[in-house]
Symmetry: C3
Subunit: 431 residues, 3 copies
């Protein structure tokens, strides 16, 4: 959440200094490129800005942003800086329907801002005001550092220093600016999960709009979620319900089907992902066909033109160019050579209860349906494995391997068997 | 739908009497705790209230609500009762863009309500009015029972008694109140499926907002559906597209992945349900990992820290603590002992065409992949079953069981087989 | 997109002539019933209308619509034609917040429209106007063909002919009408994917509202997508996230579960499709139960009362009345006879690397779990196949077929095996 206001400030041309008073490690990890200062004990917004210390005077203007307002946009900050000019302080305000806990903006008869009243100190008339302080200010750096901050007095009952006192101080000097912002939603603070949820909706709308304008087709965009870290080329189609997370990247012309969930996954050009494909940490080559209802787990690599079909799971496996595994299979710790065909119901038995072992299938091989490949095991180039086999030993190149029982037909016996089973069921239910 | 207005009235401190004129059994079943009265033949709203009979006078004030207005809130009803005071009748009105079939509220030059005109009797000028009667009233009980109801006259063409005549009657006595409600949506009647759909959207927004305020994180809330009967602890995350129905309960810290559909299911603390998990009538212990694309059917019980993976179906089965069934399996009428591992492609053959039988797998067992367990059958504690086996007899504790054909490699024969298959395919297509 | 404005014009009683200047084949294919004319080189809207040639005078009134305004409604066009009367030209305008690239409507002191100024030729004052030209006009056909079009002069820099010059020309003759339309959204042009996405939302809302009014229940309609070609009977329930595409048809009383994706699929009366059923080109008979997470591919035919359960894929297969395949199976190029039961994990091995072959299962048969049926193969009426079998030869009617290895229990050996595997794992990790 912090990253959004950080980026907005950066985009507005600011150097960012983060004032942190808890979860410092998490903040440093999330935004390693930003400078940090520590507020040892949280004693109000005025005290927080004091924690910046001497660095306040390194620039001529200081912009102060709260950390919980992720929706502020760089354009707004630029406009605020432009409006600031020679003021000592320029504040951002907005009109809201339910002013709640926000500080109320008090104007005089001429419409000039005289100050901000916190809710705890507001009269009934002031509480009814609907113009509120967004908590975003531009300051003359020298005045802030050398006059305002030293003069702040603690407010009861918590004896905190309020940065909002700057407003009255600058107004008294005739050097206060106030910019009323039309879009209150973009200034709103996020203090609970409902507000967070609303803020995420606004961010999502921005992200999706940007992709749409760059040539991505979105079906029912309100059902799609794309994280800010995701890259999508032009001429991509995202069907409804798609979720793209983390370092996911989708190449030109790809189609991501209904409800696909991709995390940290690379999708090559012109791929078709059918509905409900779930992938994490996978690389999918150009022209692949995946799903529906396939699952590609960590370190799956599909070379170009691979087909992975429904109810197939892959993990830590390489499927070489043109390989196919179209139905109901588990490929774990495996290589499938170029052009090989893995039949329905094939299972790589990669785990013996103690360690994971590899299955290596050569190029041009054919694995019959319902086959178990007990790893570690190798199936050679061009080999053929009969359906229903349990392969425990190497299958040499170009060998035909079969490992199954012979078929025996007991002719005319089904009626007897049904009678016996029916009788047994009758006895069971009769108990 | 009825339950919502019923609950709103209850929450506003009312005792509820339902007037029913059809589907009486269904209404009684849905709201067994409410009192009922029967309107034998539906002859208008006034006639419906008459059906309450002597019970009208058991209280000093009577609130009348239509049964098809599920969105009315208890706060609104409380405000109406507070405004009612010593009035004979106090009505609720609202302003709507498209007044349609609602009765129009007619005010005099001083702005006082004089009456309500039904659409069938309205003049063109009256039809243009946008203030409408919400059909919700507070009445002085004695006046209603002893003066108003006996005086109602049938209106042509259907000769129905209109409760709306109370408005003019009370106005004539100078004892009418009218409360204009700002949120027309919450008063709207539900007369077709489109209106029902819109009403459900409003209800969903309320339900989800309540959960969010209590600490539940919702991703893209407009895609989530949570029925009113569902309980969710704090620090739960619901990803987009989640559906929670019936008596579902989600424990603290659990994460319900994209598109999970849960009905009557209990989810323990800190569980992770991966995308597209579908569960009905299941109990999932703390710390379990389920899905993606798993299905837990009726009477599935997962003890803590169980893993059920993709393309796994369970039914009427107990998986004891720490058991795993990670891929492509069907576990029906089974017990899987603590810490046991069920390999990919394992099937419990619980049905012989006549009855269902149980599979019992002990603790610490290892079931190799692609194994069929022909129930009734028992696999003992610590037993190991080789991949690809068909287990028809008991496997004793600590036994190793194998039931499969031996592997035969026909070396160098794949080329011949391919040639034969290719020739056969050629002949087939040549026909 | 074109089809929508085409249909609106048709519904308003117009004969439609499409002027095409690129993608002519695609347009002809999409709207084969409409007449076409070709604009050889695109030289502006005036030039486009000229391409209609002599056909302009075949009617007394000509309506001109842009091809990229799919949201215009037939009611609007009817109103425009009604307002047109004896005018030479009647234009449609609307008020927008961000007039962008739309031509501005210039009115004189009396409020009469004087002309339209394109953005490239507009002054700053004109750019600030918020009433814009929707690009939709009714014309007196003779005037258009014989006076206006011949008189149009090219505008620099591209020397295009602007149909908007008609506005000033008609105004100069005192025979211009202008109809201000209240719903700007329905007139908006679609020039990028964001606008397309917004237009699709409006269309979806219209489609879904129509179905809801005809008795279809929609859960969270904003998550549902139904293409205009789809037919849905009354008393159908569409759960959230449903996608219905192409020639899909859903019969009365059917319930389409959460996230089902159906294309060109026929769903019979009273069917229940459980969540995440994906179907394309399938026919599902009355009373069937499908899914969750089933996939019906092209040329699947389910006769009435068939059950297809989770993780089952069908393709080019007929399941006769009452047949069941409830779990983890692949049925390709198969027939399953009436009342037969296909066990979990059954695979039809329909592909040998060269050609597809058929599997034929008779009526009343029972296929045990984890069975591979190696096609071409026939299982007779009433036959029983034991679990875990690989069926390569015909199973006669009423035969019991078994094709699997015998079970061998090595008693007490699991501990030794675990020790050996553990030691091997230790050596492997020790390397």
């Amino acid at each position: 959440m912090l990253a959004w206001s950080h980026d907005a400030a950066r985009d507005a041309g600011c150097d960012v200094l983060l004032i942190v008073h808890h979860q410092e490690e998490a903040v440093r990890a999330a935004l390693p490129e930003a400078a940090h200062a520590r507020q040892e004990i949280p004693r109000g917004t005025g005290d927080a800005v004091r924690a910046a210390g001497a660095r306040l005077e390194e620039r001529s203007t200081v912009l102060v942003l709260p950390g919980d307002a992720p929706l502020v946009e760089s354009d707004t900050l630029r406009a605020l800086l432009a409006a600031h000019g020679e003021n000592l302080c320029t504040m951002l305000t907005c009109l809201v329907e339910e002013p709640g806990a926000y500080g109320r903006v008090v104007r005089d008869g001429k419409g000039c801002v005289r100050g901000v009243v916190e809710v705890t100190e507001a009269s009934a008339v002031e509480l009814a005001l609907r113009e509120v302080n967004a908590g975003i200010y531009a300051f003359d750096a020298r005045w802030l550092a050398t006059e305002l901050l030293p003069s702040l007095l603690p407010h009861p009952p918590k004896h905190e220093l309020y940065l909002t006192d700057a407003v009255a101080a600058a107004a008294a000097r005739g050097a206060l600016g106030a910019m009323l912002h039309g879009d209150a939603r973009s200034l709103m603070g996020v203090n609970d999960r409902h507000a967070l949820s609303e803020a995420e909706e606004v961010l999502q709308a921005r992200i999706l709009r940007r992709h749409a304008e760059q040539g991505v087709t979105l079906r029912r965009p309100s059902t799609i979620r794309v994280e800010a870290t995701v890259e999508i080329d032009a001429d991509v189609v995202l069907e409804q319900g798609v979720v793209l997370e983390g370092r996911t990247r989708v190449g030109r012309g790809a189609r991501v089907g209904v409800g696909c969930v991709l995390r940290d996954t690379e999708v090559g050009e012109d791929c078709i992902l059918h509905p409900y494909t779930v992938a994490e940490g996978a690389r999918i080559g150009a022209g692949c066909r995946v799903g529906p209802m396939a699952r590609l787990r960590q370190d799956t690599v599909l070379e170009p033109n691979v087909h992975v079909g429904n109810f197939v799971e892959t993990k830590n496996s390489l499927l070489e160019v043109g390989a196919k595994a179209n139905h109901l299979s588990y490929l774990g710790d495996a290589r499938v050579g170029a052009g090989s065909n893995v039949g329905a119901g094939t299972i790589t038995c990669n785990y013996d209860g103690f360690r994971k072992s590899r299955t290596d299938i050569g190029a041009g091989a054919f694995i019959g349906s319902n086959t178990a490949l007990v790893a570690p095991v190798r199936v050679g180039d061009g080999a053929i494995v009969g359906a229903g086999s349990v392969i425990v030993d190497e299958v040499p190149d170009n060998a035909v391997a079969i490992a199954r029982g012979a078929q025996v037909n007991h002719e005319g016996r089904a009626e007897d068997l049904r009678a016996a089973l029916s009788a047994r069921a009758g006895r069971a239910s009769g108990k």
